[in-house]
């Protein structure tokens, strides 16, 4: 075999020989990032909803104590998963479940679990920030009509909060595309792992990882663009149509008697 003499020669050869490996690694990276971000987002939503349930002094004990415990545990979860590297979390979760629970997780399952749980911790704080940025008045209006915390959250607060934190959600997505690379420590066949094996044969680390970097960049840039479009869709139309004519404003008001019981 002739060894290429130039940088581009190597790139071409590596692409020809390991194209499918790169492709597979890219697919797996994307898969992990997409499902991890999505599940992490849902987890974060749940955590944030529970963490924003108001506890008042007058609540009965059977409601107050479980809530306090839940708030404490969720707070600890967030601290632990934001305060340790995902690479370390991967080792502990993967080998911990293997050694102590006798659970041999398929690496792909482990990968998705680790990224989701890790992302959930960040998302919970991002979403909580989004929730408290929505002015209290709307929530009060919802409570005043008799809606529950859950109803006012899902119907009114979260849709606005999620719209406002879309840039941060996009950021988490991008971080996950890049940081899923640390999962190579438990031999997940994502892009970084595949690149390492591709580089091994000819020991052309620079050329291989140049290609790898390009792929990561293409992924992150396109994700950012796509999310920008989603944001614009969420904003909806910025005009409205007048419905019918405005001639009936003079009619008098009658109140239907609400006492049917």
């Amino acid at each position: 075999m002739v060894r290429p003499a130039t940088f581009f020669g190597w790139v071409e050869l590596l692409l020809n020989q390991y194209g499918s490996l790169f492709l597979k690694g890219t697919g797996i990276t994307l898969m992990i990032a997409v499902t991890g971000t999505l599940l992490g987002f849902l987890l974060g939503l749940l955590v944030a909803i529970v963490r924003t349930v108001p506890v008042s002094r007058r609540d009965p004990v059977y409601k107050k104590i479980p809530l306090k415990i839940a708030h404490f545990l969720l707070g600890a979860y967030i601290e632990v998963f934001r305060g340790t590297p995902m690479m370390v979390q991967a080792m502990i979760i993967y080998y911990g479940t293997m050694q102590y629970l006798n659970l041999r997780m398929p690496v792909m399952v482990a990968a998705v679990v680790i990224v989701s749980v890790n992302t959930g911790a960040y998302m919970a704080e991002i979403i909580r920030g989004g929730i408290i940025s929505i002015d209290k008045g709307q929530k009060e209006a919802a409570y005043a009509m008799g809606m529950t915390h859950w109803q006012s959250m899902t119907g009114i607060v979260l849709p606005q909060a999620v719209r406002n934190i879309m840039p941060s959600i996009g950021n988490e997505f991008v971080v996950n595309i890049k940081d899923s690379s640390v999962l190579n420590v438990i031999s997940v066949g994502e892009l970084f792992f595949m690149s390492k094996s591709a580089a091994g044969t000819y020991l052309r680390y620079f050329e291989v990882f140049f290609i790898t970097a390009c792929i990561y960049l293409v992924l992150t840039v396109s994700i950012t663009r796509i999310l920008r479009l989603v944001e614009r869709r969420m904003d909806g139309k910025n005009n409205y149509t007048i419905y019918g004519s405005q001639s009936d404003s003079k009619s008098s008001i009658t109140i239907s008697d609400a006492k049917e019981a």
């Binding site: 002015d135 709307q138 005043a144 809606m147 005009n239 409205y240 419905y243 009936d248 109140i255």
Partner: protein, 247 residues
Amino acid sequence: MQEHILEVSGLKKSFGDHEVLRDISFSVEKGEIICIIGSSGSGKSTLLRCLNRLEEPTAGTVLFHGKNTESERSRVSFLSKVGMVFQSFNLFANMSVLENCVIGQMRVLHRTRKEAEEKAVFYLEKVGMAPYRNARPAQLSGGQKQRVAIARALCMDPEVLLFDEPTSALDPEMVGEVLSVMQQLAQAKLTMLIVTHEMSFARDVASRVIFMDQGVIAEDAPPEKLFTAPEHPRTREFLGRIINRQF
């Protein structure tokens, strides 16, 4: 015999060691229109918010048709029957005008979308906002927003409507359109508690005026009496200040 809709007794509310409401007792009969006046910081908003449990009273009871409103079980049916209109409108910013009026009916009263929309359009027409049903709150003027907020509250078929300074956040030329809607509600004999600084409105529509001063009800009298021959010196002082400001 008159029917108490709301009966407040011994109501107290403190924030920390700041005692905002100090022993408030009064009751509201069906069809009454009570205007609550008083200087800023006297506890008017806190009183309304204690009535529909946006704030937990520190002490005292609020009875609705003779029943305690504290228990979790009675909360939803009670709250849907006591509507509230806020100074800052508090429309749901992510929804159209129509959707604002529909969501509570569907989620809380479990009406079908069709029923809810019919009712919403009915009340939006009453407040002159039906043509704007597809608009979003951000696209409306203050007066329009408040009229939508009133329609939204009416859609729940409330027995009592609480207003917390409904016109205070409005430009002067929009105050009239909101007051005229409220005037129509008064003619329809809806029971209302209205915190307001619009003294001539209070004089015209109120069946009773409550003057609050430093967390207590200083005076509670029909408007003819309270505005022309106030008993309490603080009432006189307050009215003097307000009237001087208005002319």
